[in-house]
Amino acid sequence: MTAQVLKPEEYFITEEPYYEPVGNEIEVFEAAWDNQLPVLLKGPTGCGKTRFMEHMAWRLKRPLITVSCHDDLTASDLVGRFLIRGGETVWVDGPLSRAVRAGGICYLDEIVEARKDTTVVIHPLADDRRVLPMEKLGELLEAGDDFCMAISYNPGYQSVLKDLKQSTRQRFVALEFDYPSPELEAKIIVRESGIEPPLAEQLVKFAQMTRNLKGSGLEEGASTRLLVHAAKLVKSGIDPVAACRSSIAQALTDDEEMLAAVNELSASVF
């Protein structure tokens, strides 16, 4: 596949992204979309939130616009701003405005990281009104029925300063994501990477061990995504222990002792 340039609102997903439902999240999301309700995805990293969004975007045949939020993200970054082109000021839409205009799905990832003034634009879109106030233009953009907003955040990283306030949370339909059950996780790994089931089960067992260490040395255990990485390496001929070392252990921690412990664990499983 070669690189190509796309406008965000033209980014339609044509091939089905593989997604293994854990509960009834697909039905819930579809119901929310039918009722024009926004959705909140909760869960640790690597549990399938973004993959789920891609799947739903394919299923509902709408373009998916993703914004990764960070400390400095302001409302202008989402809505748009004036830029200077050739001596003239020109209004350029931000991703949220594009999504509203095109009737697509706007997915704001890690919303708690962004500046607080983003709530000014999220709240009106997330409740009954479904309008996007564009103050600088002096306009109100009303969303069509196709538009859907989804946000995500990781409750495990909660700090006192960066918190999802009740006034925001209660506007959304929340779906919880977590590590899948062992059998399901093994199935996902087999499907994504093509390795043999027994090896996938061993990888899952190893992931369990790292999740036991969460909070006593590791910030997070190995996510499903890391396991898929490791499995893909194994499929390409890398020794399982070495694959775990680089794709899982090194990705989880830099602390020497923890690294040694995690490597010992991987060596004990395979």
């Binding site: 004036f82 200077i84 369990q208 260490l213 002792e257 412990a261 995690v262 664990l265």
Partner: protein, 1007 residues
């Protein structure tokens, strides 16, 4: 007084200049005169050393120097048209030849030799960035120019103005300072200014005059001058050159050397006879010299091993008694140079603590070197120093003698692995494996009591560190397996007691269980099983038929501990196979004890947890009044347990709680208690669901002893923090030297803070205003390359530029930049006895004002006082902790700060730095309010105290803390800049101003 060996005549070597050398040639000499060629011209002048007959009778010199009666003379040209100054070249260097009134022209042989030696020493020195050379009686500047060419800076001293001019033409003006002064006066001035130099050159004349007529007489003044030398040399001195020539009394080289030795003993002295060789090979003496240098300090070309005599000379400096170093020096002479340097360095370091220790070190070091490498010898030395510190001289001497024992354990430590090294990794490893969180501790034999795994403190069974680590890991896995796969579900003690030989029964049971556990491990953790298998090779080999049968049975997937017990009878009489290396021992009694305590605790906790759960889910129910008959019958709690399949638990199932038939999601703590009960019992008994009644709190341990009681009592080091202390002489830490204890300040409810605020109310208001302005606020940044809004001003300018034909700027936006204050500050307040009176009041007032400001500002802060007496009793007084609000109690504590004892700052900084590091903040400040130097009752004062405090501050800086000191000690500038760094302190000259200044300083520090 040690008698130093004298410099013998036999030690004198020759240093010769061979001619022709560039444009210079010594053509002939004899009859008290010599003939030389400088460049294109021949010069002839008198030379007292030119005895004998010249080779040629007729010299056709161009310039001749004629002596007159008395002193002095003049140059006569032999024909007209000769220049009186010209240039010659010596090996690429330009030499200005000027006919001097004292018969000098060009450069002398000794100048060439000095120049050569200077270059060699300076260029061969890799350690110093800047080398300072002092050139006294410096003459025509050739020597100085050589030093400059080698990269040094020079101070060139001479009394004669014409010479200074000549020198300037040789040297230029860069990196050199010309001083026209009488040498003795200038040297005394240098001493007053405490100037030191890395090389000193003294080619002294027999007689001379200063610019104001001061007389230099070598016989009288040279010994005096030489006696000043020790205070002129730097620690890294590269060498001293002392030479002379002529005069009424002829000096011998060894006498010069002796002069140097007497003032600067312990280093190498080279007495030299200077010579010039003529073109036909005859040698003309040219004076005597003595070189002084220390070969053992730098990387020099050479590096030959020192002789026994040289070693003895250096070691003698550290010994008390004569000849003590002779034997050791001889033994050390056979070692390579690096080893000698190493031993000398260590001996010097030890000698600073005690010469007795130095002697013992030196006496035994060769033996140590035979047994260990340098790192081992250093470890042995540090160990003996520790013994000396803690137990005294005689135990330390014994420790020195015990070299062999130490060497053996050192070797074991090299290849072996210590428990401390691996505890962290193994603890995380076993925690990941699953199950109850087991602790790891060191013990005599490997075993477990079902909550802790005990491992031997070191393992050096195998040759390599890795193999020993694998053994540790195998032990851990085996012990873990015992608790995970249910070995202790059985009452092993009771089971084994039924046999006549219960010990043998226990051993057999252990063997059987190990077989079963290994089979379980093979199924679940194949990787680790592969690593463990070689460790039981001997066991497998030694198993007889009955054991093999048992192994086959226990290897089946469903085997439990009961099966092992069942097979005990069948193998009891068979010979016992050798236990596997990782097996360890079984201690059923300990397990029983720990297990019982835990089971009781788990049951209590489970019931309490269910009680809380019930209160959450049914908050309207009264705990004491059963609402239905069903509840009464159950005993109160309406929960049910349902067994569900669970792959990740060892038994294959777990329990879910149901309330009224509906599953209840169990929070984490409930689940872990259930898992623990399951692991112990294999089941959760129904009776656990029965209420224990209200307020079923199980009696925990009795409360902790208060810090005061602990101190008063015999529990001297209990509940205290131990910190290392830096010994600057030893350049190493004294481990766990200072004992620090935290206490609260007794609050004093006398409205002190209110009174202070009233007294300073004007200032307080002002402070509040200034600090409010400092709070985090948004700043509007203009002319940004990107931002939220268009910056109209910038746009107008840019368009104007574009209209003008210039390039248009891209910075056309404004951005709102949020300034966040993320600061945590720890105040360290000196509560030593010296603060009594004014200072204590001022400190408290300053704190009161500061707290008001800080509350306005919103920074996180903590206040601790410190004092103490001796290293065993360092006290830290809590006034306000980080997480405490600024309430009445804190205000009362500020008022309650009272002067106490002494000031041991190092331990305080380390302790408070540790507390500060626990706070999450972008900037962490440690501000000290003190009235003076670190000072404690034992030897913690002067340089020792300052150096340890400085080291503690360096450690704090490394961990990301910014230290700052506010003091009222007016003499503080001397030592504060050394401890805190040049910009990190502030001196307040009047105590009264302290309250005003502290807040001001804080504001400047943090904005």
């Amino acid at each position: 007084m040690v008698q130093l060996p004298t410099v013998a005549a036999s030690e004198v070597r020759c240093a010769r200049i061979d001619t022709p050398l560039g444009d210079y040639e010594l053509l002939d000499f004899g009859g008290g005169r010599r003939l030389e060629r400088w460049g294109p011209w021949l010069v002839e002048r008198p030379d007292v050393h030119a005895t004998g007959a010249p080779r040629d009778a007729n010299w056709s010199a161009d310039w001749v120097f004629l002596r007159e009666l008395g002193a002095g003379g003049h140059w006569e040209p032999t024909r007209s048209g000769l220049p009186s100054r010209w240039e010659a070249s010596l090996g690429g260097e330009r030499v200005h030849c000027r006919l001097g009134s004292d018969g000098r022209v060009g450069v002398e042989a000794r100048d060439l030799l000095i120049g050569r030696w200077l270059r060699e020493r300076i260029e061969g020195c890799y350690d110093l960035d800047e080398i300072r050379v002092l050139n006294l009686f410096a003459g025509n500047g050739y020597v100085s120019s050589q030093a400059l060419a080698a990269g040094a800076t020079v101070v060139h001293v001479d009394a004669d103005a014409a010479m200074i001019e000549l020198a300037r033409s040789h040297c230029g003006d860069e990196q050199v300072e010309f001083v026209r002064e009488n040498v003795m006066d200038y040297v005394e001035d240098l001493l007053r200014r405490q100037q030191r130099f890395d090389m000193i050159v003294l080619p002294v004349p027999p007689l001379g005059h200063g610019p104001r007529g001061q007389l230099w007489d070598r016989e009288v003044d040279l010994p005096r001058l030489v006696r000043h030398l020790p205070r002129l040399v730097s620690d890294d001195c590269l060498g001293i050159w002392l030479s002379t020539d002529g005069g009424a009394i002829t000096w011998k080289a060894e006498s010069l050397g002796q002069l140097l030795r007497e003032v600067l003993p312990g280093h190498t002295i080279e007495p030299l006879q200077l010579e010039v060789a003529s073109v036909d090979g005859r040698v003309l003496p040219a004076g005597v010299a003595a070189r002084w240098f220390d070969d053992t300090e730098f990387l020099q070309t050479g590096g030959q091993p020192l002789t026994a005599a040289q070693l003895e000379e250096r070691l003698d400096a550290h010994m008390i008694s004569i000849g003590a170093a002779e034997g050791p020096a001889r033994a050390l002479a056979d070692h390579p140079r690096e080893t000698q340097d190493f031993v000398l360095r260590c001996a010097a370091m030890v000698a600073r603590t005690s010469s007795g220790m130095a002697f013992n070190f030196v006496a035994h070091v060769c033996g140590a070197l035979r047994l260990m490498d340098e790192a081992g010898v250093e470890a042995w030395l540090l160990h003996c120093m520790d013994v000396y510190d803690t137990r005294g001289l005689h135990p330390a001497v014994a420790a020195f003698k015990e070299v062999e024992g130490f060497a053996r354990s050192y070797r074991a430590r090299q290849t072996g692995v210590a428990f401390e090294d691996v505890a962290g990794v193994l603890e995380a490893f076993v925690h990941g494996l699953n199950g109850r969180r087991l602790k790891l501790e060191a013990g005599e034999h490997p075993y477990t009591d079902s909550e802790t795994i005990f491992l031997p403190p070191t393992l050096s069974r195998f040759e390599g560190r890795d193999a020993n680590f694998q053994l540790y890991k195998a032990m851990v896995v085996h012990q873990w397996a015992q608790t995970w796969f249910g070995t202790w579900r059985l009452d092993v003690a009771a089971a084994v007691d039924r046999y006549a030989d219960s010990e043998r029964a226990l051993a057999c049971f252990h063997g059987l269980e190990t077989l079963r556990l290994d089979a379980c491990i093979e199924r679940q953790l194949p990787g680790i099983h592969r690593q463990m298998r070689p460790l039981r090779a001997a066991t497998d080999a030694g198993m007889d038929q009955r054991w093999r049968l048992a192994a086959a049975q226990l290897g089946r997937p469903g085997a439990t501990v009961d099966d092992s017990l069942g097979l005990l009878d069948s193998v009891l009489d068979a010979p016992l196979p050798e236990p596997a290396a990782y097996q360890g021992v079984l201690r059923p009694q300990e397990v029983a004890r720990v297990r019982k305590a835990r089971i009781d605790a788990d049951r209590q906790r489970f019931r309490m947890v269910l009680m809380k759960l019930k209160q959450e889910l049914r908050p309207d129910e009264d705990a004491g009044a059963p609402e239905s008959e069903q509840q009464e019958a159950d005993g109160g709690l309406p929960f049910r347990l349902k067994k569900v399949e669970a792959q990740d638990s060892v038994d294959g199932f777990a329990f879910e709680i149901e309330l009224d038939g509906r599953p209840v999601p169990a929070p984490g703590n409930v689940r872990s208690v259930m898992a623990s009960i399951l692991q112990d019992l294999g089941d959760i008994p129904e009776e656990y669901l029965h209420a224990a009644g209200d307020g079923a709190y199980f009696a925990g341990d009795t409360g902790e002893r208060s810090a005061e009681d602990v101190w008063k009592g015999t529990y001297h080091e209990e509940g205290a923090f131990l910190y290392n202390e830096w010994d600057y002489e030893r350049q190493n830490y004294r481990k766990n030297w200072a004992v620090v204890r935290e206490m609260d300040v007794h609050p004093s409810y006398d409205h002190f803070v209110d009174r202070t605020l009233h007294k300073y109310r004007g200032l307080a208001m002002e402070l509040r205003r200034t600090f409010e302005a400092l709070r985090g606020e948004d700043r509007l940044l203009k002319k940004q390359p990107y931002g939220d809004d268009v910056d109209i001003d910038a746009l107008v300018e840019a368009l104007a530029d574009a209209r003008h034909g210039e390039e248009m700027s891209e910075r056309l936006f404004t951005k709102l930049h949020k300034l966040e204050r993320d600061i945590a500050v720890m105040f360290m307040v000196d509560m030593s006895g010296s603060t009594k009176g004014w200072i204590n009041d001022a400190e408290r007032e300053a704190l009161a004002l500061l707290c008001e400001s800080l509350e306005t500002l919103g920074d996180r802060y903590a206040i601790y006082g410190f004092s103490g007496m001796t290293r065993k009793r360092c006290e830290i007084y809590r006034v306000k902790r980080f997480d405490e609000p600024y309430d009445e109690t804190v205000r009362a504590r500020i008022s309650g700060i009272r002067p106490r004892d002494y000031t041991r700052m190092g331990a305080t900084i380390r302790h408070l730095g540790g507390l500060l590091n626990e706070v999450e903040a972008r900037t962490r400040l440690l501000v000290t309010l003190s009235d003076g130097k670190p000072d404690d009752y034992d030897a913690y004062r002067g340089a020792y105290g300052i150096e340890d405090t400085r080291m503690a501050l360096i450690e704090a800086k490394r961990s990301g803390i910014h230290p700052f000191c506010i003091t009222i000690d007016t003499e503080a500038r001397d030592y504060l800049s050394h401890m805190y760094g040049a910009v990190n302190y502030a001196v307040i000259d009047e105590v009264r101003k302290l309250p005003l200044k502290v807040s001001d300083i804080y504001r400047r520090l943090t904005s």
